[in-house]
């Protein structure tokens, strides 16, 4: 079920892939180092590990479903039949940490109350910031074959990238941010928070699955997908 694959043909069929991988590696290493220094190891695990596991499953399912694939990377992981590059999983964890903290920074300046509504505001802004960056990144990635969307996919597209992809970005970052913030702000011990952040993935994952599924259905009913 789980396997690791090493690809011998690095950057095959792609352009500028080494630069993209280098960018992710630098950003990920810096953010993990910074998080570890500022928040400590346990909080860093809470910020990075659950999203790594969640996106490993989601991306693997995405590849296995035949909607897109990743050519030319070095290390691939697979849990449900689709090979996902390790660097993509790490990129997701850097994305969540970055956008969560960007959202938190902006919202805490305009809404200081530390309540559930603030968590929703932070998570919504984190999701929107994520989509903004992806609207730049995804078309370039598709054009340079860092990942390839199947040409037969129907529906509205933004430079060959399906709109549902951007909705997926928002839904994933939004709900993962909510889960992370709720656990971070709870009064459980640090060890308990780590366990909760991992076990609650099933609840967060189910919520993401249901909400994204409903959006897909709405798009189908509206004839947009």
């Amino acid at each position: 079920m789980f396997f690791i694959e090493i690809n011998q043909n690095f950057a095959e069929q792609t352009r500028f892939l080494a630069f993209f991988i280098g960018l992710i590696a630098i950003v990920w290493l810096f953010l993990v180092y910074y998080s570890n220094k500022k928040y400590g190891t346990k909080k860093t695990v809470i910020y990075f590990l659950p999203i790594i596991i969640a996106t490993l499953i989601i991306e693997s399912a995405g590849v296995a479903s035949g909607r897109y694939y990743y050519p030319g990377y070095i290390i691939y992981l697979s849990v449900v039949g689709g090979g996902v590059p390790l660097i993509i999983i790490l990129a997701w964890s850097a994305n969540l940490f970055l956008f969560l903290n960007l959202g938190r920074h902006v919202i805490s300046k305009i809404y200081q109350k530390r309540n559930k509504f603030q968590i929703i505001l932070i998570s919504a802004l984190a999701g929107l910031f994520g989509v903004c960056l992806d609207l730049l990144e995804d078309p370039i990635a598709h054009y340079n074959n860092w990942w390839i969307w199947e040409g037969t996919l129907e529906g509205i597209k933004f430079f060959e990238v399906p709109i549902l992809n951007f909705i997926g970005w928002f839904v994933l970052i939004f709900f993962m941010s909510i889960a992370t913030l709720l656990i971070e702000r709870s009064r459980y011990s640090e060890n308990r928070k780590i366990l909760l952040s991992l076990s609650s993935l099933s609840i967060t994952g189910t919520t993401i699955f249901v909400v994204h599924g409903l959006i897909v259905k709405l798009f189908e009913l509206a004839g947009l997908s």
Partner: protein
Amino acid sequence: MEKTVVQFILENIFLFLPIGLVGIVSTLILMLISKKENIPRSETMESNYITIYHVRFNIYFLVYLFIWIIILLIGLFSNFIIPTIIGGIIAIIPFIVFIIIEYKTKNVKVR
């Protein structure tokens, strides 16, 4: 024929259902048997700044700007000009929001 991720998960529900159930049950157990002991600290945003040449920068926005610049350069060097420019304009919106919020809240503090 390609499917959505949701369709894929539904077709493999017998793989995902047990994993999901184990997670939900263990989360409930963890929440119920644990005593709450930690008082969460308030977040200090000021420590997320670094000073470069007497100018204070927020680290997260510096990282965002770094990603934006590199991706933009790759897009331009790929001769993918129009989508890169359109995407670049959209992706700079968070930075503009950040600058406006910084400026507004700075003014409030001075008053």
